[in-house]
């Protein structure tokens, strides 16, 4: 278990990934990944660049089409060719490294557009929900601004509020703080921690080991398209068993260290 205390307020669903395979041409990027995220659980995905973390995350909501294996998210089998992908994605929030806010819409509209067009909520209800979620990420007064009038950290918090406004039961984060200035990383991680406390199911790709150690229920270390090691955060990060994990963590935790 993670070190933080949880008081669930979110409705949570889990995800089950089994024997997931994905290739780009001849390049097999995911070589049979199996992974379970239980409802309300926070799983951090770590690993070197190019190990397939983003690809795995993007397969979960079918932004990438897997070549094999199955993915179950909530009540949906994402890999079923008949599945209603748009319905499934309404339940799966995604937060991108580059924020991907809609620049032609205000902060409030960013948070209401999908509620209105996809969930067909009324304008007043959508605004109310958007305002609640902007409040939750500490940006209650920023609804009328445009994304380019915000700092990187603020933009990422809006992106989180936008995803939350759809009432997802599972949230995917792909290196949400990697594009941020160091001084704004903390504010985004703090929001993610409050989500974890509130019982959101989260699958997080991150290089923030301190965050993973404190917030994650489980940490999964990937390398070369396979899961090398997984377990409680304290064990995988604090006492890794596999040489590849040890090597990776040594480089991440002590960037100036070089093996010669």
């Amino acid at each position: 278990m993670s070190k933080i205390e949880k008081n669930p307020v979110f409705q949570a669903a889990g995800a089950t990934i089994s024997d997931l395979r994905k290739s780009y041409g001849n390049n097999e990027v995911l070589k049979g990944i199996s992974l379970e995220v239980k409802p309300g659980e926070v799983v951090c995905l770590i690993g070197p660049s190019g190990s397939g973390k983003s690809t795995l995350l993007r397969c979960v909501n079918l932004l990438e089409k897997p070549n094999g294996g199955t993915i179950h998210v909530g009540g949906f089998e994402a890999t079923d060719p008949e599945v209603d992908l748009d319905r499934m994605r309404q339940n799966v929030g995604m937060v991108f490294q580059q924020f991907n806010l809609f620049p032609h819409l205000t902060v409030l509209q960013n948070c209401t557009v999908a509620q209105l067009k996809v969930l067909k909520r009324s304008s007043s209800e959508a605004k109310k929900i958007a305002a609640e979620n902007l409040e939750r990420v500490g940006l209650g007064d920023f609804g009328a601004r445009y994304p380019d009038q915000l700092s990187g950290g603020q933009q990422q918090r809006v992106a989180i509020a936008r995803a939350l406004s759809m009432n997802p039961t599972l949230m995917l984060f792909d290196e949400p703080t990697s594009a941020l200035d160091p001084e704004t990383v903390g504010e985004v991680l703090a929001i993610m921690k409050t989500l974890a406390k509130a019982g959101m199911t989260m699958l997080v790709v991150t290089h923030e080991m301190a965050f993973a150690k404190e917030v994650a229920d489980r940490v999964v270390f990937m390398d070369g398209g396979v899961v090398v090691e997984e377990g409680p955060a304290a064990e995988v990060i604090g006492n890794p068993q596999q040489p590849r994990t040890q090597d990776f963590l040594r480089r991440v935790l002590d960037p100036t260290h070089v093996d010669i």
């Binding site: 909501n61 932004l63 748009d86 319905r87 994605r89 309404q90 799966v92 929030g93 995604m94 991108f96 580059q98 991907n100 806010l101 809609f102 620049p103 032609h104 557009v113 999908a114 067009k117 996809v118 969930l119 445009y146 380019d148 009038q149 992106a159 936008r162 995803a163 759809m166």
Partner: protein
């Protein structure tokens, strides 16, 4: 003696000014002013051109331009989407079309539609305006397609991905997220295309027109032969083109400025 750069620049500026004044003076002295007035600015003789130059000519110029643009824009959007399609034959078809109609003179397309089609299909009778719309529209579509494709592709992929991951179907992501952003990008080149079309509408004369079909340039040409006012009719027609095209440019510039402001 060595000169500094600023000294040299000053001397070059003075020389340019002297040449400019000399050229103007020569032209003013050499020119036959009374002749210039009667052949360029004989406005008093233009009475018979009005009000038809405006009610028929200006109206037809705008009419031919608008219908050709509307057709070109619709077809251009289809071609742009075809060019981005994953089905390769669509892409080939669109590329072939675009390369062809960008490469041949508009006047040739007009002639083909105006004389070739009636010859080949004697039964097919369609109004003059449709011939103009189809021929000028096909050429415009080729340019517009490339403009639209570039605009749509200039919107980052992450925008579509964010929209899809919020549960939007592909068409909804296109309509609500991608197209509004692409619109800002393509508005200036589309206005440019509209300006070109405004001028190209004058090519319609090549098909032979009845008086009710005259556009502004045709009125100008008629005026030259019938009014004895030199090329004054053309000067007036030319000014009327500017009345259409300059506001178009101004609108675009304003739009560019305002979108530059929201871009921080």
């Amino acid at each position: 003696m060595a000169m500094t750069t600023s000294q040299r620049a000053r001397i070059s500026k003075i020389v340019q000014a002297i040449i400019f004044v000399a050229v103007i003076t020569t032209l003013v002295i050499v020119a036959d002013w009374p002749k210039i007035r009667t052949s360029f600015f004989a406005f008093e003789k233009l009475g018979p051109m009005f009000p038809d130059l405006l009610l028929v000519g200006l109206k037809n110029t705008i009419f031919y331009t608008v219908i050709s643009f509307a057709f070109g824009l619709s077809l251009g959007l289809v071609l742009a989407l075809m060019k981005m399609a994953s089905f390769a034959p669509y892409r080939w078809l669109a590329t072939g079309f675009i390369e062809f109609f960008r490469g041949v003179p508009a006047i040739l397309v007009l002639l083909a539609f105006g004389f070739g089609v009636p010859a080949a299909f004697p039964e097919a009778k369609w109004p003059f305006a449709v011939t103009v719309m189809l021929s000028l529209g096909l050429v415009a579509a080729a340019y517009i397609a490339e403009t639209l494709r570039a605009g749509l592709q200039a919107v980052p992929r992450g925008q579509t991905e964010a929209a899809r991951s919020l549960g939007m179907p592909a068409w909804r992501a296109m309509v609500t997220i991608v197209i509004p952003q692409a619109f800002k990008i393509v508005l200036p080149p589309l206005t440019n295309e509209m300006i070109l079309l405004t001028k190209d509408s004058s090519l319609a004369f090549i098909l032979g027109m009845t008086a009710a079909q005259y556009e502004m340039t045709k009125f100008g040409r008629e005026g030259i032969t019938s009014l004895g006012a030199g090329i004054t009719p053309l000067i007036v027609a030319g000014a009327l083109y500017l009345v259409i095209t300059i506001p178009l440019s101004l609108i675009t510039r304003r739009f560019e400025n305002s979108s530059a402001r929201t871009k921080r």
